[in-house]
Amino acid sequence: MSWVIAIAIIVLGVVLTLIRAMLGPTAADRMVAVDSMTTITTALLVLLALYFKRYIYLDIALVYAVLAFVATLAVARYMEGGL
Protein backbone atom coordinates (compact mmCIF):
# COMPACT_ATOMS: atom_id res chain seq x y z
CA MET A 1 0.00 0.00 0.00
CA SER A 2 2.76 2.40 0.89
CA TRP A 3 4.03 1.99 -2.69
CA VAL A 4 0.92 3.41 -4.15
CA ILE A 5 1.13 6.60 -2.11
CA ALA A 6 4.78 7.34 -2.92
CA ILE A 7 4.35 6.56 -6.62
CA ALA A 8 1.10 8.56 -6.78
CA ILE A 9 2.74 11.66 -5.31
CA ILE A 10 5.54 11.49 -7.88
CA VAL A 11 3.16 10.86 -10.79
CA LEU A 12 1.17 13.92 -9.70
CA GLY A 13 4.40 15.91 -9.96
CA VAL A 14 5.01 14.60 -13.48
CA VAL A 15 1.47 15.62 -14.46
CA LEU A 16 1.98 19.15 -13.08
CA THR A 17 5.21 19.64 -15.05
CA LEU A 18 3.50 18.29 -18.17
CA ILE A 19 0.73 20.86 -17.78
CA ARG A 20 3.36 23.60 -17.53
CA ALA A 21 5.08 22.18 -20.63
CA MET A 22 1.80 22.46 -22.52
CA LEU A 23 0.86 25.95 -21.21
CA GLY A 24 4.30 27.56 -21.08
CA PRO A 25 4.22 30.85 -22.98
CA THR A 26 7.79 30.63 -24.31
CA ALA A 27 10.04 27.80 -25.49
CA ALA A 28 12.28 28.34 -22.45
CA ASP A 29 9.38 27.68 -20.07
CA ARG A 30 8.62 24.43 -21.83
CA MET A 31 12.22 23.31 -21.73
CA VAL A 32 12.53 24.08 -18.02
CA ALA A 33 9.42 22.00 -17.36
CA VAL A 34 10.72 19.11 -19.47
CA ASP A 35 14.11 19.23 -17.74
CA SER A 36 12.50 18.93 -14.30
CA MET A 37 10.22 16.21 -15.62
CA THR A 38 13.18 14.07 -16.67
CA THR A 39 14.72 14.30 -13.20
CA ILE A 40 11.40 13.40 -11.58
CA THR A 41 11.04 10.48 -13.99
CA THR A 42 14.49 9.19 -13.04
CA ALA A 43 13.37 8.99 -9.41
CA LEU A 44 10.14 7.33 -10.55
CA LEU A 45 12.10 4.67 -12.48
CA VAL A 46 14.21 3.91 -9.42
CA LEU A 47 11.01 3.46 -7.39
CA LEU A 48 9.54 1.21 -10.09
CA ALA A 49 12.67 -0.96 -9.98
CA LEU A 50 11.95 -1.49 -6.28
CA TYR A 51 8.28 -2.18 -6.97
CA PHE A 52 8.91 -4.83 -9.63
CA LYS A 53 11.98 -6.16 -7.75
CA ARG A 54 14.11 -6.08 -10.91
CA TYR A 55 17.71 -4.99 -10.51
CA ILE A 56 18.04 -4.37 -14.25
CA TYR A 57 15.58 -1.45 -14.14
CA LEU A 58 18.16 0.61 -12.29
CA ASP A 59 20.26 0.60 -15.47
CA ILE A 60 17.35 2.12 -17.32
CA ALA A 61 17.17 4.93 -14.76
CA LEU A 62 20.91 5.57 -15.11
CA VAL A 63 20.84 5.64 -18.92
CA TYR A 64 17.74 7.85 -18.85
CA ALA A 65 19.51 10.34 -16.58
CA VAL A 66 22.55 10.44 -18.89
CA LEU A 67 20.47 10.91 -22.05
CA ALA A 68 18.28 13.59 -20.46
CA PHE A 69 21.37 15.57 -19.46
CA VAL A 70 22.77 15.44 -22.99
CA ALA A 71 19.40 16.37 -24.51
CA THR A 72 19.01 19.37 -22.19
CA LEU A 73 22.49 20.63 -23.05
CA ALA A 74 21.78 20.24 -26.77
CA VAL A 75 18.50 22.16 -26.58
CA ALA A 76 20.10 24.89 -24.45
CA ARG A 77 22.87 25.28 -27.01
CA TYR A 78 20.28 25.44 -29.76
CA MET A 79 18.27 28.16 -27.99
CA GLU A 80 21.45 30.16 -27.51
CA GLY A 81 21.99 30.06 -31.25
CA GLY A 82 25.23 28.10 -31.29
CA LEU A 83 24.07 24.94 -33.03
Binding site: I10, T39, I40, A49, G81
Partner: protein, 113 residues
Protein backbone atom coordinates in the same frame (compact mmCIF):
# COMPACT_ATOMS: atom_id res chain seq x y z
CA UNK B 1 15.59 0.30 11.40
CA UNK B 2 17.17 0.52 7.94
CA UNK B 3 13.72 -0.04 6.47
CA UNK B 4 12.28 2.87 8.42
CA UNK B 5 15.06 5.21 7.31
CA UNK B 6 14.63 4.06 3.71
CA UNK B 7 10.90 4.71 3.71
CA UNK B 8 11.39 8.07 5.38
CA UNK B 9 13.89 9.07 2.66
CA UNK B 10 11.55 7.90 -0.12
CA UNK B 11 8.61 9.91 1.23
CA UNK B 12 10.80 12.93 1.90
CA UNK B 13 12.05 12.77 -1.71
CA UNK B 14 8.59 12.23 -3.17
CA UNK B 15 7.22 15.21 -1.23
CA UNK B 16 9.96 17.51 -2.50
CA UNK B 17 9.61 16.24 -6.07
CA UNK B 18 5.94 17.19 -5.89
CA UNK B 19 6.80 20.60 -4.42
CA UNK B 20 9.24 21.25 -7.26
CA UNK B 21 6.53 20.47 -9.80
CA UNK B 22 4.13 22.76 -7.93
CA UNK B 23 6.75 25.51 -7.98
CA UNK B 24 7.08 25.12 -11.73
CA UNK B 25 3.31 25.57 -12.00
CA UNK B 26 3.04 28.57 -9.69
CA UNK B 27 6.09 30.78 -10.17
CA UNK B 28 5.78 33.67 -12.62
CA UNK B 29 8.84 33.58 -14.91
CA UNK B 30 11.46 31.25 -16.36
CA UNK B 31 14.23 31.93 -13.84
CA UNK B 32 12.05 31.48 -10.75
CA UNK B 33 10.73 28.25 -12.21
CA UNK B 34 14.27 27.12 -12.85
CA UNK B 35 15.09 27.77 -9.17
CA UNK B 36 12.24 25.64 -7.87
CA UNK B 37 12.80 22.96 -10.49
CA UNK B 38 16.51 22.54 -9.90
CA UNK B 39 16.69 22.58 -6.12
CA UNK B 40 13.67 20.47 -5.32
CA UNK B 41 14.18 17.84 -8.00
CA UNK B 42 17.87 17.44 -7.17
CA UNK B 43 17.31 16.75 -3.48
CA UNK B 44 14.17 14.73 -4.20
CA UNK B 45 15.78 12.37 -6.70
CA UNK B 46 18.86 12.08 -4.48
CA UNK B 47 16.98 11.05 -1.36
CA UNK B 48 14.57 8.78 -3.24
CA UNK B 49 17.34 6.78 -4.85
CA UNK B 50 19.38 6.55 -1.63
CA UNK B 51 16.22 5.43 0.16
CA UNK B 52 15.65 2.63 -2.38
CA UNK B 53 19.28 1.63 -1.87
CA UNK B 54 18.75 1.40 1.89
CA UNK B 55 15.70 -0.84 1.45
CA UNK B 56 17.74 -3.21 -0.76
CA UNK B 57 21.33 -2.99 0.51
CA UNK B 58 22.59 -5.02 -2.48
CA UNK B 59 21.48 -2.22 -4.78
CA UNK B 60 23.17 0.52 -2.80
CA UNK B 61 26.26 0.98 -5.06
CA UNK B 62 24.22 1.55 -8.21
CA UNK B 63 21.68 3.86 -6.58
CA UNK B 64 24.63 5.75 -5.12
CA UNK B 65 26.02 6.21 -8.64
CA UNK B 66 22.62 7.47 -9.85
CA UNK B 67 22.42 9.94 -6.96
CA UNK B 68 25.97 11.17 -7.55
CA UNK B 69 25.29 11.61 -11.25
CA UNK B 70 22.16 13.65 -10.59
CA UNK B 71 23.98 15.77 -8.00
CA UNK B 72 26.73 16.56 -10.51
CA UNK B 73 24.73 17.14 -13.69
CA UNK B 74 21.49 18.80 -12.59
CA UNK B 75 23.03 22.17 -11.64
CA UNK B 76 25.00 22.18 -14.90
CA UNK B 77 21.94 21.63 -17.07
CA UNK B 78 19.95 24.27 -15.18
CA UNK B 79 22.82 26.73 -15.58
CA UNK B 80 22.91 26.03 -19.33
CA UNK B 81 19.15 26.50 -19.61
CA UNK B 82 19.17 29.76 -17.63
CA UNK B 83 21.99 31.22 -19.66
CA UNK B 84 20.41 30.16 -22.95
CA UNK B 85 17.02 31.59 -22.02
CA UNK B 86 18.55 34.92 -20.95
CA UNK B 87 20.57 35.20 -24.15
CA UNK B 88 17.63 34.23 -26.34
CA UNK B 89 15.82 37.29 -25.03
CA UNK B 90 13.43 36.02 -22.36
CA UNK B 91 12.24 38.95 -20.24
CA UNK B 92 12.39 38.98 -16.44
CA UNK B 93 9.22 39.14 -14.38
CA UNK B 94 7.92 42.73 -14.30
CA UNK B 95 8.25 42.98 -10.50
CA UNK B 96 11.93 42.01 -10.53
CA UNK B 97 14.18 44.34 -8.56
CA UNK B 98 17.54 44.56 -10.37
CA UNK B 99 19.05 43.26 -13.60
CA UNK B 100 22.84 43.54 -13.55
CA UNK B 101 23.06 41.35 -16.62
CA UNK B 102 22.44 44.34 -18.89
CA UNK B 103 25.85 45.77 -17.96
CA UNK B 104 27.71 42.93 -19.67
CA UNK B 105 27.82 43.03 -23.42
CA UNK B 106 28.32 39.25 -23.67
CA UNK B 107 24.83 38.82 -22.28
CA UNK B 108 22.90 41.08 -24.62
CA UNK B 109 24.72 40.87 -27.94
CA UNK B 110 22.48 38.03 -29.09
CA UNK B 111 19.46 40.33 -28.91
CA UNK B 112 21.04 43.05 -31.04
CA UNK B 113 21.77 40.78 -33.99
Amino acid sequence: MLNAIGWFLIYFGAFFLFLGALGIMRFPDVFNRLQAGTKCTTLGALSTSIGVGLLHPAWLPKTFIIALFILLTNPISSHALGRASYRSGVKLWEKSVVDKCKEFKECVEEENE
